[in-house]
């Protein structure tokens, strides 16, 4: 039997890898995948606790998260394509045009 803390540890590692990926990487796709990783870390955590307490409420939220992540993926990918078309690059550091400041 794998202990609860092991599940929690894995999901924390997944989440942290996701956070580091978002902060450290410049490629938009990698950032996107890192976000997915964070989501997965959280959902794993939720599912673990659901099993632990014999309660299915968290399963519902997990399914919801997966559905929303799918919808988000659709929008995110199209936004990335538009950004790529306008800048010919996937580097997030040059996607600064949406700010109101003068450094766009």
């Amino acid at each position: 039997m794998i202990s609860l803390s092991s599940y929690a540890f894995v999901s924390m590692i997944l989440f942290s890898i996701g956070v580091i990926g978002v902060i450290a990487r410049r490629n938009v796709f990698i950032i996107y995948m890192s976000i997915e990783l964070m989501l997965n870390g959280i959902t794993l955590f939720l599912v673990t606790f659901a099993r632990y307490h014999f309660n299915l409420d968290a399963q519902v939220i997990t399914v919801l998260v997966i559905a929303i992540a799918a919808a988000e993926a659709a929008i995110f990918l199209s936004v990335i394509i538009l950004l790529y078309r306008s800048k010919k690059s996937l580097d997030t550091d040059i996607f600064t045009t949406l700010t109101q400041g003068e450094n766009s």
Binding site: V19, V22, I23, A24, R25, R26, I31, T92, D93, F95, T96, T97, L98, T99, G101, N103, S104
Partner: protein, 628 residues
């Protein structure tokens, strides 16, 4: 007696000004309007004002009533109640009679003078406004309304002197007139305020002031009288605020005629006469006014003897004649002073208009020696100019003699022999410099004489009408010792605190003396200038030709000093102290803001990291504070 007509004396030229201004805007923006339209509106409206005044005058003479018209309550503060009210008493109607009449003739003259000018419509709009302002001043029932007109003529004189605004010199002259007048106006305003506190009444109308004048302390009244007179010094160009008057010649000649004959410069004399109850109550201030007048008359006459610009000579002669008027009103002989205003309006308007005719004929040449070198045949102008010169020199029976002599006799009777002496000497100088002008311009031998020069009828007809006035106006106040009725004296008798009651023999001697000095002046001028070599003009050096360096003195003392003070305030107080403090505070805020702004660099990854740090902080805080 209440009459609705009074306001129309003012409204007629005012409406003319507004309509002309409107048409002029249309003229420059859309399509051009013929000069005829402007000139018809511009000349009919003063005529209407004159006709209304004439009707009121006739009624007044018939029934002996005083006209008033209350328009509305203007100010009502606490107990103080200032009404927009017009007063048409003997003095006001007398003034507005010749202001409108002479003003009307000058308007007609201006049609000919300004012909073909680009700003024709604008000129007539200003001109009507000038007349309307003067009429507000004359018909005002309280000093506050008087002040509206007082400022109005100041503004209009500025607009008109600087009429050819593309020329820098004209604009400077306009500014000078305006600023010199502002100095006076400030005095006037302070005077009104002093008067208000001195009498402590709940209304400021002239009748209220007169009724409550005994409540006030003599010192305050004296101060008020002096301050009001400072205003008159500015408007009527007396020492020390006269310097704007000769420079005001920069404007077109009709303006000079209007300013000098009918409107602006007479305002000061009128104002003193309006406050006759104040000035005759305090003898000292009246004497002071008379002395200022006498010295102004003398100074201006001395300067005039060496000027070469035809209009400047006339300007200085105006200042000199205004000095006489102030002698008259200062000594309490208001009717004599105002009678001189009246006669002066005719001959000075005529002289200016004659000078304008010559200037036009000679393509804007104003130096008398150059005018003489290219003499034009202008018989009507020659005739009227001669009439004007004789009138101002004081040869009977021309009008100038009677009014000037009345003032001199008054000074003699009052025992002010110094003023009388100055007046006599000035009369000599007046005859001398006016005939110097006449002999050089019309008589001295010249080689180039143009046979025929066109002059417009609108120029010559007003001149002829005015020449009748210049000759005959004196008979309106024909002295009683010649069996005259002294109409003006009777008409304005309620103003006078004094009456001439010299022995007849003394009066005859005084008259003979003043005729004698006038003739002496003419003879000296004849000897010196009738055969003067105009190709070898007088040099322009010397203290008199340079107007005693008063302008330079004012420039050094007032202008340069205030410039230095202003520069000091600008460079040190403003730039260093005030700006230094304020800008330091501002710059601190700005630089702090800039530091904050560097965070907002629109970098997604940076934002994410920042969010993480923030969330971590919150979690740590929650962890510690909740003890989880």
């Amino acid at each position: 007696m209440n009459t609705p007509l009074l306001v129309w004396i003012i409204l007629a030229p005012l409406i003319g000004a507004i309509v002309n201004a409107g048409f002029y805007f249309y003229h420059i923006k859309k399509e051009s309007i013929s000069d005829k339209v402007f000139s018809i509106i511009g000349t009919i409206t003063p005529l209407i004002a004159f006709l209304i005044t004439l009707c009121l005058f006739l009624q007044m003479r018939e029934e002996g009533v005083v006209f008033t018209q209350t328009l509305f309550t203007w100010l009502s503060i606490g107990n103080l109640n200032i009404e927009m009210k017009l007063l048409g008493d003997n003095l006001a109607i007398f003034m507005s009679m010749f202001v409108t009449f002479v003003g009307w003739l000058i308007h007609i003259y201006a049609i000919g003078y300004m012909k073909g000018d680009n700003g024709f419509g604008k000129f007539f709009a200003y001109f009507n406004l000038f007349l309307a302002s003067m009429l507000i001043l004359v018909l005002a029932d309280n000093p506050i309304i008087l002040f509206i007109g007082w400022e109005g003529v100041g503004v209009c004189s500025y607009l008109l002197i600087a009429f050819y605004y593309s020329d820098k010199e004209n604009v400077i002259a306009g500014n000078k007139a305006f600023i010199a007048n502002r100095v006076g106006d400030f005095g006037f305003l302070l005077g009104v305020v002093t008067l208000f506190f001195a009498i402590g009444a709940d209304s400021l109308s002239f009748s209220t002031i007169e009724a409550n004048i005994n409540n006030a302390s003599t010192e305050l009244l004296m101060l008020a009288g002096f301050l009001l007179f400072v205003g008159a010094m500015g408007k009527s160009a007396q020492i020390p605020l006269y310097v704007w008057l000769p420079d005001a010649m920069a404007g077109p000649t009709p303006i000079s005629a209007l300013i000098h004959a009918a409107t602006m410069v007479t305002a000061g004399v009128y104002m003193v006469a309006r406050f006759h109850f104040l000035y005759s109550g305090i003898e000292d201030i009246g004497t002071f006014i008379a002395y200022i007048g006498a010295f102004s008359a003398l100074l201006a006459a001395i300067i005039a003897t060496r000027q070469q610009d035809i209009k400047k000579i006339l300007a200085y002669s105006t200042m000199s004649q205004l000095g006489y008027m102030f002698i008259g009103v200062g000594l309490g002989f208001y009717s004599s002073g105002l009678f001189h205003v009246f006669t002066h309006a005719f001959f000075k308007a005529m002289l200016f208009m004659g000078a304008g005719g010559i200037i036009i004929a000679l393509h804007h040449e104003q130096n008398i020696f150059k005018i003489a070198q290219h003499r034009a045949q202008l018989p009507i102008i020659h005739f009227t100019f001669l009439v004007g010169v004789i009138a101002i020199a004081g040869i009977p029976p021309f009008s100038g003699f009677f009014s000037k002599d009345a003032i001199l006799a008054a000074a003699f009777q009052d025992g002010e022999y110094l003023i009388w002496g100055i007046g006599m000497f000035t009369a000599f100088l007046t005859a001398f410099y006016m005939f110097r002008l006449y002999f050089i311009v019309f008589i001295a031998p010249s080689k180039h004489v143009a046979q025929y020069v066109y002059t417009s009828k609108t120029i010559t007809i007003p001149l002829l009408i005015l020449s009748i006035g210049a000759i005959g106006a004196g008979f309106l106040n024909f002295p009683a010792i010649f069996g005259g009725s002294a109409f003006v004296d009777t008409w304005l008798s309620q103003l006078n605190s004094q009456k001439i009651h010299l022995a007849h023999s003394t009066e005859y001697i005084l008259m003979a003396a003043s005729i004698l000095v006038a003739v002496a002046g003419i003879v000296v001028a004849y000897k010196k200038y009738a055969k003067f070599d105009i190709y070898n003009p007088e040099n322009e050096e010397g203290i008199i030709a340079n107007k005693f360096y008063v302008d330079e003195f004012y420039d050094k003392v007032f202008v340069q000093t205030s410039k230095k003070v202003s520069t000091f305030i600008d460079k040190v107080v403003d730039d260093k102290i005030i700006d230094g403090f304020i800008m330091t505070v501002c710059n601190e805020f700005v630089s702090f803001g800039k530091k904050v702004a560097t965070i907002q660099n629109a970098n997604v990854r940076f934002y994410a990291a920042f969010m993480l740090v923030g969330m971590s902080c919150i979690f740590v805080y929650l962890y510690i504070s909740l003890g989880l």
